[in-house]
């Protein structure tokens, strides 16, 4: 269904541009964007790899640090009171405003973009994971304690699985915004990447190229999201089967 809607809109776009004779530098028809995509595929791929690398590395760092920190926050009330408020208030600082500083500190390479992606991905992961680790049923905890479980066993056998759906919600939000983060990072200062290509092509009125880059970014974003959903399904089959079973029961 969404595919049909998009195809319809693209068709309207193509027809409008052609009948109203809008110049291509202003709004190119979809056909010429596709043509640009094919002709400049090497150039586009070169920049795609850079942006994808920024996203993947930034996201991975964020996930790793985020999960460890969340475990700490859920485990220790001291961390909960000291670190957690900082994590939450850090979200109010506009990242775009920090980006120029990062350029001063770590240069124009991959590092500042990776850091921006990591900072933006960090918040949804930590907030969701902390909530998930705390969403345990106290009766379940008592059940485990009565079975002689240690605090660590409760964490591993109850808290982590309970948190898993929450963690994946965080991951899905993070991965959706990570593409935006990488583009912002490249706009502030870069010599490669799709965001850089857009900023570079715009004053040259290579509008088809701008659109081609946007198209790739969109596909990248959707693919990363789908990847997260697949990982979610694979790691918690019980969760989805249970949801399906209960929805059938409620029919």
């Amino acid at each position: 269904m969404p595919v049909l809607i998009i195809l319809g809109l693209v068709l309207v776009w193509e027809v409008c541009v052609r009948t109203m004779s809008i110049p291509a530098w202003q709004l190119p028809p979809p056909s010429s964007i596709i043509l640009e995509l094919i002709l400049s595929i090497e150039l586009l791929l070169e920049h795609t790899v850079v942006t994808l690398l920024e996203i993947v590395v930034g996201f991975a760092i964020s996930l790793l640090i985020g999960l460890v920190l969340s475990a700490g926050i859920a485990y220790s009330s001291l961390l909960q009171r000291s670190i957690y408020p900082i994590v939450i208030s850090s979200q109010t600082v506009p990242i775009i405003a920090i980006a120029p500083l990062l350029l001063i500190w770590v240069g124009y390479g991959l590092a500042p973009k990776v850091i921006i992606v990591a900072i933006i991905c960090f918040y949804p992961i930590v907030v969701n994971t902390v909530d998930g680790l705390k969403a345990i049923d106290p009766d379940m905890v008592n059940m485990l304690r009565a079975l002689g479980a240690t605090k660590f066993q409760v964490f591993r056998k109850l808290q982590i699985p309970t948190a898993l759906p929450f963690i994946f919600s965080g991951i899905k939000i993070s991965i959706s915004v990570s593409v935006i983060a990488a583009v912002i990072g490249e706009w502030v200062g870069a010599s490669a990447g799709l965001g850089y290509l857009i900023i570079y092509s715009q004053p040259l009125f290579l509008t088809s190229r701008v659109f081609a880059a946007i198209l790739i970014l969109a596909v990248m974003g959707v693919s990363l999201f789908v990847l997260a959903v697949v990982a979610e399904r694979l790691s918690m089959p019980w969760y989805f089967n249970e949801k399906r079973a209960s929805s059938i029961r409620h029919l």
Partner: protein
Amino acid sequence: MILNQDSDECINISALSKTYVVNGSTELILSDINLSVLERGFVSVVGPSGCGKSTLLNIIAGLDEPDSGSIYIKGIEGPRLGKIGYMQQKDLLLPWRTVLDNASLGLETQGLSKKDARDRVLSEIETFGLSGYEQMYPYSLSGGMRQRVAFLRTMVMDQSIVLLDEPFGALDSLTRVQMQLWLLEIWDLMKKTIILVTHDVDEALFLSDTICLLSARPGTSAFTISVDLERPREHHMLSKPEFVSMKQDVLSSLWEYVD
């Protein structure tokens, strides 16, 4: 049935009391509880709702400590957590674990390897009527089946004492009767000492050697009745005159203490 006179006292609780702070005011939940359970005995704790039955089990299991009084398990007063089987009202199965792995949970927390725990569970799975269900997840099981898994998880451990908190409360009456008969079999087979909390007088009479009545809040051990019905118990006994008269006794003293 008269209890085997050779068997020793397994659990001794004396003068136990417990208060909780509820909304800023301290409330006495249990007061002067005395209970004695013999080795391989079956004792039911019966009382009106809110009399602190579950609190009593929590304390015996070691999840909570009494304010005063003593609990001796086989003559020893000390930490009890993990040494006593405790099956709560809800089945509390972990939704991400299969039947087999849910039942293995307690053995795993005791330090058995996953494989050894599974093997141990598999050797008992037949007895608990769960063969063929090993790889199923809890959501696909009926209430009675889930309860069996929770039973297996509790019973498969080497703890000789088992506390049961209204294990059949959520079941329909037919399944309930089946499960009661089955529990008696398991009890006999696995040589356990059982304390069962229930508010079903029929159930208490049908299953136990001794019934301990608790009064309404604060719960006090008001009354102890020994159930002199022969074993094995069979369902037709429920309509025998001595059963009916015993039920009358229990119910009338229960009414007396509710007020």
